[in-house]
């Protein structure tokens, strides 16, 4: 009976299998979640979700699959905190609009309508002209009102069930696809660490050798384990200036936090695109430049090259001599990028711009093409994909 739910979960990318389904059925038979939808939600979450990154996706699918089911104990328009509805409207409406409201039957009537809408609205706003939260023609949506943004759910203790638990989407920032922030910083760090420790020759395992030699009553028995430390050398090229500064700081911290894990980690800065020079100190970027040629000579091809940049610029800056916004460059930037990516066989580009927007910027497409598709979003998942690519 829950098969469609399960299929919807799989469709949303949750790794749910028959084992979990049977466990859920078993738990239902045991009566763990007797007669409450909320308990059933908690139960199915405990059984079907194995990773906090999937909790938000699970909530969304659950809301979709079981909408309308909890009518008996669902949203109660009477219980809506009227105070904030009023405050919200007063804060957001202009005098002209207030006049219009008076024409419509006064604020009270409008409040009533808002409460009705909220009661009617299941799950989250999904577009159209009726629901609250859309940018469409609804009188409320136009002001950016959004049940998630205002967080009705925080008032839960006083106004029980004002919003369904799974609709609060409290696990949103645990999703692996979201942009890198302090919260999932650790997650990204862990992935990078794993990257730093992979692929290596073997080394002698002394304790195990002693143990198995003792087991063999003194006959020497050598034991080897894979060496796991400091296998990877990293060369980091960071785009600085303007909108990139915040992301650059984040990625610098990210990489330096695990710098002990890397055998070598070197940073260089560039602005917008790679040309014949880069620099190591931002404050002295004009008098202490390092020729890119020198970087190529100094660091061998066994380094992994990682660019961090939004790759948003005029295509001229990439493709034309003299295209740089800062100085006259004899050769187009792409020549330098080609040199770098040929020299460093393993390279990737991390882009802090959300992946969905890449198609809208021409230069991102160009850089992506130059990088042969090895551009990844600066999210834990993106970093993981990058480490897979670089670790090959």
């Amino acid at each position: 009976m829950f098969a469609p739910f399960l299929l919807a979960l799989r469709g949303a990318g949750l790794p749910v299998s028959v084992t979990e389904y049977l466990a859920l059925m078993g738990a239902m038979r045991e009566g763990v979640a007797a007669y409450s939808v909320e308990d059933f939600y908690f139960l199915s979450r405990a059984i079907l979700v194995k990773d906090e990154r999937h909790l938000d996706r699970f909530d969304r699918v659950f809301a979709e699959a079981f909408k309308g089911l909890e009518a008996a104990e669902g949203l109660n328009p009477r219980a809506l905190p009227e105070e904030w509805l009023r405050k919200l409207a007063e804060k957001l409406l202009t005098p002209e609009e207030m006049a219009k409201i008076q024409a419509l039957g006064g604020l009270e009537a409008l409040m009533q309508r808002l409460a009705e809408l909220l009661a009617e609205q299941k799950g989250r706003h999904q577009g159209g002209s009726k629901w609250i939260g859309t940018a469409g023609t609804s009188p409320f949506g136009a002001y950016g009102y959004n049940p998630e943004g205002v967080r009705i759910g925080q008032d839960k203790s006083r106004h029980k069930r004002a919003v369904k638990v799974w609709d609060k989407r409290e696990f949103r920032d645990l999703d692996g696809d979201v942009e890198l922030g302090t919260r999932n910083f650790r997650l990204a760090l862990r992935r990078l660490r794993r990257f730093a420790r992979q692929g290596a020759p073997v080394e002698l395992d002394i304790p195990d050798t002693i143990r198995s030699t003792a087991n063999n009553a003194g006959m020497l028995d050598l034991k080897l384990v894979p060496e796991r430390h400091n296998a990877v050398k990293i060369l980091l090229f960071l785009d600085v200036g303007g909108s990139m500064d915040e992301h650059v700081r984040l990625s610098e911290e990210l990489f330096s936090a695990c710098r002990t894990e890397f055998k070598h980690l070197e940073y260089f800065y560039f602005h917008n695109f790679t040309y014949e020079r880069v620099w190591k100190e931002n404050r002295r970027r004009h008098d202490r430049v390092v020729p890119t040629e020198e970087v190529l000579r100094t660091y061998g091809p066994d380094y992994r090259l990682i660019f961090v940049g939004d790759a948003a610029m005029s295509p001229y800056e990439i493709l034309m001599p003299g295209g740089s916004v800062e100085h006259w460059n004899e050769e187009p930037g792409r020549a330098w990028l080609d040199r770098l990516t040929t020299h460093y066989r393993r390279s990737a580009w991390l882009n802090p711009t959300p992946e969905g927007g890449w198609a809208h910027t021409q230069s991102i497409g160009v850089v992506r093409q130059l990088m042969a598709g090895r551009m990844f979003p600066l999210t834990p998942d993106g970093i993981e994909a990058m480490t897979r690519e670089l670790g090959r």
Binding site: P15, S17, T19, E20, A23, G26, A27, E30, V32, A33, E38, D39, F42, L43, R45, A46, I47, V49, K50, D51, E52, L55, Q154, K156, S157, V165, E170, F171, L174, T182, R186, L187, R190, R194, R211, A214, N215, A217, G218
Partner: protein, 288 residues
């Protein structure tokens, strides 16, 4: 069928406030006899959970704390080859029976116990990446094979297994398949008030309110390296109570007092203290 486990439901106790979703997860794990994997921010009571579950079900608790050097085998048994070698050289008659040199591990103890027990496998992510894989069969069938003595140890009663993880390593899928999972969310303010009331029933209400204000303010500071969690709050409150500070101190708008008193319990590294001082300073300058 609940088998031989007592049918006692796990709920919040006087000292441990569990949210409804946690109760459901624990009860599901107990009645289906699956291990329960608990994750969450450090200091949200993951380890405490096992103690409380054991207390609620009235079962003894066997704790197995994992370190980076812990091997799965150590939870089952260890073969002490070195003392056998020594005994052999000294001509000790014990040497002929290999079972003299088998040292039992925590899981063996749990399996052989005469009554059901609760097993806590604490911080499983500290161990080697292969650690969870090595325990698959043991946790699934609750049995293992002792190679040295050719004996299979089977659990007399399936123990309730609670596993905690701090997310330092990814756990293998095959292992996750066998577990139920719960992520302990950071408690919201009303829950936090209940937790504080449960731990310090005689705390003055004005002090508790101001302290919680300060606490949630600190947690909201962006960019903290380690946000204070429940256990830090409780430590801090204890200090405040010992010093018997008046609530006004926490509300103080005095320009010299930038940072809450006894902040050492809340902020655990000096970058965070600096960051907080800077933000508090800016906020005050902006406000005044």
């Amino acid at each position: 069928m609940i088998g031989d486990l007592p049918v006692a439901a796990f709920t919040s106790t006087e000292t441990y406030i569990a949210s409804r979703d946690l109760e459901v997860a624990v009860n599901a794990a107990v009645s289906l006899q699956r291990p329960l994997l608990v994750k969450g921010e450090p200091g949200t009571g993951k380890t405490m959970l096992a103690h409380e579950v054991a207390a609620a079900l009235g079962l003894p608790l066997i704790e197995w704390h994992i370190k980076s050097t812990t091997k799965a085998q150590q939870g089952l048994y260890e073969y002490d080859a070195v003392s056998r070698l020594r005994d052999g050289q000294l001509g000790d008659p014990r040497v002929h029976d290999i079972s003299n040199y088998i040292v039992r591990g925590k899981l063996w103890d749990a399996f052989e116990a005469d009554a059901p027990v609760v097993v806590l496998i604490d911080e499983i992510d500290k161990a080697d990446i292969e650690f969870p894989n090595d325990l698959l069969l043991e946790l699934d069938r609750m049995q293992f094979f002792v190679y040295e003595t050719r004996k299979t140890v089977t659990a007399k009663h399936r123990p309730v297994v609670i596993i905690t993880s701090n997310n330092e390593k990814e756990l293998p899928d095959a292992f996750l398949r066998r577990c139920f999972f719960h992520y302990i969310r950071f408690p919201d303010r009303p829950t936090m008030e209940r937790i504080v009331a449960a731990h310090y029933p005689d705390l003055r209400s004005d002090l508790a309110r101001e302290a919680l204000n300060v606490f949630f303010q600190i947690r909201d500071v962006p960019g903290l390296k380690k946000k204070p969690a429940t256990s830090e709050l409780l430590d801090w409150l204890k200090l405040l109570m010992v010093d018997d500070l008046p609530a006004e101190v926490l509300r103080s708008k005095d320009t010299h007092v930038v940072i809450p008193p006894l902040h050492g319990a809340l902020l655990k590294n000096e970058q965070d203290v600096h960051l907080f001082e800077r933000i508090a300073f800016l906020a005050r300058r902006g406000g005044g």
